[in-house]
């Protein structure tokens, strides 16, 4: 090959002739070019049809949980012209829905009207007891943390004077009462745990500290995480730094999320 003349060195015609020769060379391949361009366009069209996200109905688990009425995530609009613009709307939407949906709590024991009461999200145990007509004389209110926020599906038991408080409360079944929370996956079990579930969005560091496997550091991580991303489902706990699969399995039956949507 080195014996062949170098391709760069000979000749010197003007740039016009060179450009014309170049365009002439391209022109002789116009059928092939047209073919390639048409194929490229067809591929782009197929891609466009396939890649645009489209809803495929509600998730099976969520439909069973009665969460079918959830508003669509804002991404739905993003399929059109201005994609990610909806990302900011998430927070506002959460606040809006929280004002309308009531949570149900079963108040039993030493109250005037035991039974189911409906409360706005964020209510305290005191509100629940008042909604049930208030405590009857002889109720041991000191055994109940009146300041605790109540959780949907929870049972609050107001004991009689001298009755042990430990018997109080039955955990709600998170699978049924999850209020359509989260992706609807991985929320089994948890029933039969004594004591009320801890609300990840409202629990204090001290309360989180009492969870098994959660120390002060992890509790602070959880609080730090929720200040930037409020929990929308128990599954979100997995996204908190320091909580791996094993701890998540341990915790998911003990915590809940309410009032986030």
């Amino acid at each position: 090959m080195p014996s062949s003349p170098s391709p760069f060195v000979l000749g010197s015609d003007g740039w016009r002739a060179r450009v014309e020769r170049l365009l002439d060379g391209v022109a002789r391949q116009r059928v092939a070019i047209a073919l390639v361009a048409v194929l490229a366009l067809a591929a782009a069209g197929v891609l466009w049809l396939n890649a645009r996200p489209h809803a495929a109905g509600p998730a099976p688990a969520a439909a069973a949980g009665g969460g079918g009425g959830q508003p669509l995530p804002r991404v739905a609009a993003g399929g059109g012209d201005q994609g990610g613009a909806g990302a900011a709307a998430g927070r506002g939407q959460g606040a809006g829905t929280a004002g309308t949906a009531l949570i149900a709590v079963d108040v039993v024991g030493q109250v005037r009207r035991p039974g189911l009461v409906e409360l706005p999200p964020g209510s305290r145990v005191l509100d629940a007891i008042e909604a049930a007509g208030g405590a009857v004389p002889g109720a041991e209110l000191e055994a109940v943390n009146l300041a605790r926020r109540v959780v949907d599906g929870e049972q609050i038991r107001v004991p009689r004077h001298g009755e042990p408080a430990a018997a109080a409360g039955g955990a709600p079944d998170p699978g049924a009462g999850g209020q359509g929370s989260g992706s609807g996956t991985g929320q089994p079990g948890g029933t039969g745990q004594p004591g009320a579930l801890l609300d990840l969005n409202t629990a204090t560091v001290e309360q989180l500290d009492t969870l098994p496997g959660v120390g002060e550091v992890t509790a602070n991580q959880i609080v730090a995480y929720r200040s930037s991303h409020p929990f929308t489902s128990v599954d979100d706990l997995r996204q908190v730094p320091g909580i791996g699969d094993r701890r998540f399995e341990l915790l998911k039956g003990l915590v809940t999320v309410s009032g986030a949507r």
Binding site: M1, V9, D24, G57, Q70, A87
Partner: protein
Amino acid sequence: MPADRSRATVGKLRNPDPDGVAMAAAATLGVLAGVAAGVGWALAVTVALAALLAGVLLAGGRPRGAPLMGGRPSRPTGARLAGRGVGRSALAGALGLAALALAGAAVAGVRAAAVHSGVLTGLAGRGGTVTVEATVAEEPDAVRYGGRRVVLSVRRVEVAGRVWRTRERAGVVVPRGAGAVAVGDRLRLSAGVERSDRTDPLGGRPAVLLRRPRILSRSASRSRLLRASETVRAAVRERALAALPPDRAGLLAGIALGDTSLLPADLDQAFTAAGLTHLVAVSGQNVGVVLAAGLGVAVALGARRPLLAVLGILLVVLFALLTRWEPSVLRASAMAVLALAGVATGRGPGGRRALCLAVLLLLLANPALAWSLGFRLSVAATAGVLWLGPTAGRVLPGRLPDVVRSATGITLGAQAGALPVLALAFGQVSLAGLAANLVALPLATAPMLLGVVAAASATVAPPLATLACRLADPFLAALVAVADRAAALPAASLTLSGPARLLPAVAVAACTVLARRRAAALDRAAEDRRRRRLRYATRSHGDDGADPHARRARQPGGTPPETARTTRPQP
């Protein structure tokens, strides 16, 4: 007009494929413009393209064949330049280039829109957990702590009780405990979503990352071919580990199949410092070695030309599958297929043309490749080999055998192409790389071939694979020694920052100009000698030699340029 004709021929020698370069450049610029212009333009671009296509086909009268491939020389254009049809032909050419640019813009625009409006893209950074169903799209990369970085092609997203069908890419780091992940595996996992800061506009590197994944279920690929290739890769690793010490086993898997999962970190670093990283990725050299060996065997068995081309294409496709269609493999495979098609149709391999067309077609098929560093490097190095290599080999001083000249020219050309790209991307230039490559490239050929032999026999005849690994061992040991020496040199690599990153490009350009001047001087000297001999010959034979072409063709030493082009070696 004889003067005009000879000038046209000479002009063709300057750069035989200006139209191929122009077409590839048009498509590339179109892709960049499509991304820059944004999503709303996709429709307008499409309409404009349709109009242009009509124009292209109508302009310029009757189509005179369409040599999409091959080095068929264009007719000397003097007559056409002087006379009829220049305007219309040029118009058709300009329209053709515009059509390619618009096709690139349309494809890139649609891709950008798809990335932009993806479900996961919209959810990124909002907190919460999604459940996705996805397929592993690329060969997983090893990351720290035994994890693997995986690119997923997501089909289905469940979020907040809704299901979305989609087609987007997402990155995820699968921790060590989750077990092996292979290309084509189907996963169902729940994870958080966040935006990636290492993405590109077309999502070649995914725009979103799935954080802290929990794998809910998994199943192997449905493609039997993919599963088989995974088995072969695993078998090669096993054979190599059985026959070689661990570092050389990792090197063999890297050199032959681009499988770096066994490569020790210190060896990897030595190769990087020595500028030899491209050896542990699969490249055009691998494809060339595989083709040469496979077709050599076929020729020995008596296969003829059309069958050879088909065999070659099959071989290239299988090899690309086995090496996980890395961008450099895609480039090399596309070029090889185009060159083989050229040979099969009798047009000759036409390396430059094959490169231009490969770039054009690959970018239109997957515009995200324009943002892949591997693709850029591969194209730049190949262009260096094809355009600068011959000149570089020619101007080497001293009396050298032609083989050494052409081999050195190829290495120098590849380095000249790759260095500016590397410097712009990393700000690091491996000074030791030039010398290391000159030694290492020939050494690497044997392991490339033996590794493929091992891959072919690992599952059916393990002892043969073990033997191939053993045979490769001395070459691997030599490569390790070269890399270690080169990396240990003082100032093995230079760090550039800011505008200094452009220095290698400037240096390469300067060297190219100098080399061309030198080559021109050599050509003039050769021409003078030829003239003198010619004068002597015509005087003795009484031939007046009115036609310069006839004269040149009759010269024993003077090969006509067309023939010379088709015999150029394929890198």
